[in-house]
Amino acid sequence: MIGRLTLAAFISAAFISHTSAETNYTPNEQALYEAAKSEGSVTWYVSQYNTENADTICSLFSERYPGVACNPVRSTGQVAFQRIQQELQAGALQADVFSTNEDSQVLQLKGAGQLLKYVPENLQHVVPRIREMGDPDGYWVASGVSPVVILYNTKLVPEEEAPRNWTDLYDPKWKSQVAIGHPSFSGAVGVWATAINDLYGWEFFEKLEQNQPHISRSILDAQNLVGTGERKISIASLSVALQDMHLSGAPTAMVAPTDGMVMPVSVTSVLDAAQRPNAGKLLQEFLLSVEVSEYLASIYRYPLRPEVEVPKGSISLDEPNLIFIPAQEALDKSMEIQGNFRDTFGI
């Protein structure tokens, strides 16, 4: 009897040490991984990354955790959030993990008791400034930072003529040349609109409307229009703009508006009713790993781990010019902002 137990213990110990020797799982990670393997997969609703980047993160995840498939479902933040609401109402939640650029959405879910409390082991290793942006109660973590800036097409706009601040967007010289996203689709645009409303009041948007901006759904499309030359200037997510410039050679350049860069905090949470909670927690851990931070830096996104060098062109998180909108404020104003936006722009 003892012999058998010892043998079993030996075998399992050997198994663990063998795998850890290869990939260095921590005990907590190992336990999550084992539980995740029996769940088989994780479904990740994500608006924080574009499809290509989300796909890569998912394949990195499955490489590190063989036997746990990762299904990314990419959409804009509002669309993903709406889908989760719909699934919750149907009692058929498909999403396990939700990453969005609008932390008011997870605040909303938390208030409704729909998030799982989990403080990832990796959180302690994250850059302190980013760690603080997460939920103090442990319902979500900050998983990315990328300020909203102004983008212009360098072939069409000489540097000296480029806009300097947000109010330049409604300068008549940019009539029919501005692109923005829609706060009812894009989370980042929602945060931006809230910040701009705080700064200048709703008159800003009424003046902007005079300039006949192109209304895209997502901020990605708006800045892509500048890359192709369809529009000369747009609002843009800084890290996406860096990625387009450096990796795709888009003829664009950025301006950090003097009246403040709006900083939506990308957040990730595991849903309380998740069918695969352990795989969800494991993905959340993984998003905070050095491995993902290295990948993020390679695509010009801000790494979450201090071990990884910040890519050139990123802004400092201590920059005084950053505008943060507290999640509660964004939540309180979200409906009003979206309604006003629809009334002003008619769509």
Binding site: A90, Q108, S216
Partner: protein, 582 residues
């Protein structure tokens, strides 16, 4: 008894074929029970989601009590009413444009000696195979105000700084919506033209009418049912489309119903308000159907009888080439131009960079096929759903059309209304109806292929039904009566008369629905789960990310797969259903 006597009333108006002395009990034959079962399936398939919606529109979301507040909320803002009137305007303009495209082309291809008919037919069919949102993307690449190919050519040629064309306008929206849908007009009107034999026109000629008078007095009145029917479907199709408005109406800032509905479906989810918002659309359909019946009332349109007939072509003389030029222009707008720019984008690193060897790449196809997380799977899913939904819809529609046309059951017109009603429910509303009825436990079909196939089949049931009815209407009951007189039952009638006679029509209808179902976006957008994503949804996501090149590549792959299935279908049919006997 009531029911039996009502049937008798209906029958006596129609053909007085079923005697009034048939007792109730003898009507409960196995065959009739089968019809009842099929009718029940239809009722469940359509009534369950629809009644859920209508009831929801009068229900307070919080208390569950009866209320009108949803209607107040739905129509209480000027912007919401504008979206409805905008949609009606757009629908009307789209119908006009589709008829302008479809009817002359159908006439030219079936009744005249215009050259290049097959070329035009293939072109029209190509326009149909191209999903509306791909046509939309094509036109964005062509007529984007600053970078569209047409405008760049215009700037270069004239030195102008203002764009010549802008797709992000009302007319851009109308054009893009019309080019994808005029095929239905073409098909319905073509088949009606084909069934007219020249004897009636000859009679007019003998009585002294010239070609124009003959056309106006004889030919066009005979195809009026087809024109009205296809106009109705065109209108309903246009107002229910989701992809094109998402691509074009949002930047054009022209709010339409589907965009407004997606607002009600965003947070906080207001399904009841959305339901209330879409009920007037149902009323409009009822009105249009009534109007159609009023126009067609008390007129006979049967032109295909058991007797033979001859059709001769109208000689256009020197107008032959003018007619061809018009047809070619339509085909160019609808398919050639957008498809060429899509192909260019698909094989290009950057679609704005222009034609050069340096820019040529296969990377977009490689990415779409092997790297993108869901597109490979989505291609298979789209084609599979197309096949399943088309088969389901055609089988159901044939049975319902038979019941309705031959008045097998009482209240046949109710079934007819049900069968066409899904088309007016915007795809996303139908999706939510399905969602409410079938996604929840106990059925719990959310995120399954079953719910997608059911919803898509239901969505295109009107086309299947219209196809089947048009076919049924053209078969004079005398051929079926022959079978009945010789002792055959109803199933024998279907098997040996209706089926064979309608084989081509039904197979054509199957292909129509397959193509539409494989491209379907409006229904899918709210019913796909993370593991059941279809190509249309992936394409819309790519458009929202601005990945036009990958989008073009994936769209091309979808087109290839649809064309492959259609080619197999056409081969099975023996002769191209588009290239009719000529």
């Amino acid at each position: 008894m009531t029911s039996a006597s009502r049937t008798t009333e209906g029958s006596s108006i129609a053909h007085a074929r079923w005697g009034s002395s048939v007792p109730w009990a003898s009507r409960l034959q196995p065959q009739n029970l089968l019809w009842l079962l099929l009718a029940a399936i239809l009722v469940v398939l359509i009534l369950a989601p629809m009644s859920t919606l209508v009831i929801a529109s009068f229900t307070d979301a919080q208390t569950g009590n009866w209320t009108l507040s949803n209607y107040a909320e739905a129509y209480g803002r000027a912007r919401h009413v504008t979206a409805l009137t905008n949609t009606l305007k757009m629908g009307a303009a789209v119908v006009a444009l589709k008829l302008l495209f479809g009817v002359p082309l159908a006439w030219a291809c079936t009744r005249t000696d215009m050259p290049g008919k097959n070329l035009v037919r293939y072109g029209v069919f190509g326009a149909f195979i191209m999903p509306p949102y791909l046509g939309g993307v094509g036109w964005i690449l062509l007529a984007g105000p600053n970078t569209g190919w047409i405008n760049r050519a215009w700037f270069w040629l004239t030195g102008a700084t203002e764009p010549l064309v802008n797709v992000f306008t009302f007319w851009g929206l109308v054009l893009v919506t019309a080019i994808g849908g005029f095929f239905l007009v073409f098909v319905f009107v073509s088949s009606a033209f084909e069934m007219i034999n020249s004897e009636m026109e000859d009679a007019a000629n003998i009585l002294g009418a010239g070609p124009v008078k003959t056309a106006l007095k004889i030919t066009f009145p005979l195809v009026l049912p087809a024109i009205l029917g296809s106009a109705l479907l065109s209108f309903l199709g246009a107002i229910a489309l989701y992809g094109v408005p998402a691509l074009i109406a949002i930047p054009a800032r022209f709010p339409v119903v589907v965009i407004q509905l997606s607002e009600f479906f965003s947070f906080p989810l207001r399904v009841e308000v959305a339901a209330a918002y879409s009920v007037p659309l149902l009323l409009i359909t009822v009105g249009l159907l009534g109007l159609q019946r009023l126009i067609l009332r008390r007129k006979g349109y049967t032109s295909l009888t058991g007797k033979g007939g001859e059709r001769r072509l109208v000689k256009l003389g020197r107008w032959r080439w003018a007619m061809f030029a018009y047809c070619f222009a339509v085909v160019a707008l609808a398919v050639l131009l957008p498809f060429v720019v899509l192909l260019l984008a698909a094989f290009n690193r950057s679609w704005t960079a222009g034609f050069s060897i340096d820019n040529f790449t296969l990377r977009n196809f490689h990415y779409a096929l092997f790297e993108h997380s869901s597109s490979q799977h989505a291609l298979v899913a789209s084609v599979g759903i197309g096949i399943a939904a088309a088969t389901l819809a055609i089988l159901l529609a044939l049975c319902i059309a038979y019941i309705v046309q031959r008045r097998v059951l009482p209240f046949g017109q109710v079934l007819a209304f049900l069968a066409v009603s899904p088309y007016v429910i915007p795809g996303i509303v139908l999706a939510i109806g399905f969602y409410a009825a079938y996604a929840l436990p106990p059925l719990a079909l959310y995120g399954t292929y079953t719910i997608l196939v059911l919803a898509v089949a239901t969505r295109f049931l009107p086309i299947a039904f219209t196809t089947a009815v048009a076919g049924m209407r053209s078969i004079h009951p005398e051929m079926e009566d022959a079978v009945r007189i010789l002792g055959g039952g109803r199933l024998s009638v279907i098997r040996s008369v209706v089926g064979p006679l309608l084989k081509r029509t039904l197979a054509g209808g199957w292909l129509l629905i397959f193509v539409l179902a494989a491209q379907e976006l409006s229904t899918a957008i709210f019913l796909v789960g993370p593991n059941t994503r279809v190509v249309s949804v992936v394409l819309l996501d790519l458009s929202e990310e601005g990945r036009m090149e990958v989008l073009a590549a994936l769209g091309t792959l979808l087109l290839l797969m649809i064309v492959a299935v259609v080619a197999i279908g056409v081969r099975y049919l023996g002769r191209d259903f588009m290239l009719r006997r000529s």
